[in-house]
Symmetry: C2
Subunit: 230 residues, 2 copies
């Protein structure tokens, strides 16, 4: 009975990893579409989101079914409830990649208002944070999950850099660039939200591993994290 | 045993309602702060968010404890898993009210770029959608939950109206208004996201009531909704 349940949990984990890979791909492709002003690619990412939605539902239904039929306790229960939350965060992240692509479609026919520097950096950080949370989940790596949570302030900094550069150095000096600059500000906001969702996942993973809550208290991590690195 | 469990579920429901009331209040006060450029009020909303975070954790921990110790099935299981998701959505909504207040602090010392018309409308819609989802949850009202899901397109329209008016009629004509106009665009985006979260809750409620998935398929509701109104 337990062996069969373990197999079912393993299958669920594999599906969650597939979901994570598709989501990470969606972020990567949305930024490719932005860099190359590639409307076809942007449309593909938007279209492919329905596959991610489908997997999200499958994972959720399977998790609830396992909760109902197996009535797990302790670590298995925490794995299932955490898996459900990760699943839902990944779906939101994929939606944000779709939002980025919608902005790309808005600006792809015009020249970029400026060469992209901080946005690709923020996108790399977002992808890295998503990837690391999933690695932390698979390897039950609390240290890596903490690293993700501490990276979030870097995302806020990059988002602010994009915001103030575009508003103060571009829009204020020449408002006619507004229709090309404001979508970039929103893309930076979408990327920063992706980093937020990665952070939420990391908080859930720390809970799953140790039943310890760090949610809403990133400052509590700082000292611990230093100790981990010693 | 079941009577005791029912009491625990009732207490959990009451806590969720308290969380909902605080969240709805945060939206209302954030827009009050915007309308009156009231920095003190904006700071109060930001500060009060830690209370909402605290209740979110309490609800989540209690739910997991009940899942573990009571091993509920069928409707009680769906109530608990749905309650956990609603709890998490409400916390996100409250975070968005905080984001609105952060924008208010950014612009409160300057005159508003234009009289606010569509943003208060969008805010009213957002509050109404949050309120209706909670009513739908309490009264197990599938029809009301469907109404919320169908309201979401109105939120998208209002957000777009704010966006294009501020970009095309203000920023393009006079870029120097950018630092006051772009935060309003972001506030509209935050409000539209609140409506999205209300929609997610409504989808979960429909699932809780009827174990039927409408998630990612709002179009499936339209005909049913017409039938409901006959």
């Amino acid at each position: 009975m337990q062996i069969h349940f373990d197999q079912e949990l393993k299958k669920l984990k594999e599906k969650l990893l597939k979901m994570a890979a598709l989501t990470e791909g969606a972020i990567r492709l949305s930024i490719e579409a932005l860099k190359n002003k590639d409307k076809e690619l942007a449309k593909e990412v938007i279209k492919a989101d329905s596959e991610i939605d489908k997997i999200e539902l499958e994972i959720e239904e399977k998790s609830i079914e396992l909760l109902a039929t197996r009535q797990p306790v302790a670590i298995d229960l925490r794995f299932l409830t955490t898996g459900m939350k990760i699943n839902s965060e990944l779906e939101r992240i994929a939606d944000l990649a779709v939002n980025i692509c919608q902005r790309v479609l808005q600006i792809a026919d015009e020249p970029l208002v400026k060469p992209l520097i901080d946005i690709p950096r923020l996108a790399d950080l977002a992808r890295q944070m998503v990837k690391e949370t999933i690695d932390a989940f698979v390897n039950r790596d609390k240290k890596l999950a903490k690293k993700v949570i501490l990276s979030d302030s870097e995302a806020d900094k990059l988002r602010n850099a994009v915001y103030y550069e575009l508003v103060d150095d571009y829009i204020v000096k020449d408002g006619s660039c507004g229709p090309r600059a404001v979508p970039l500000i929103l893309i930076a906001r979408h990327l920063e939200r992706i980093c937020d969702h990665a952070t939420y996942i990391a908080e859930d993973i720390i809970y799953m591993i140790g039943a310890k809550r760090v949610k809403h208290h990133p400052e509590k991590l700082k000292n611990n994290h230093k100790n981990d690195q010693k």
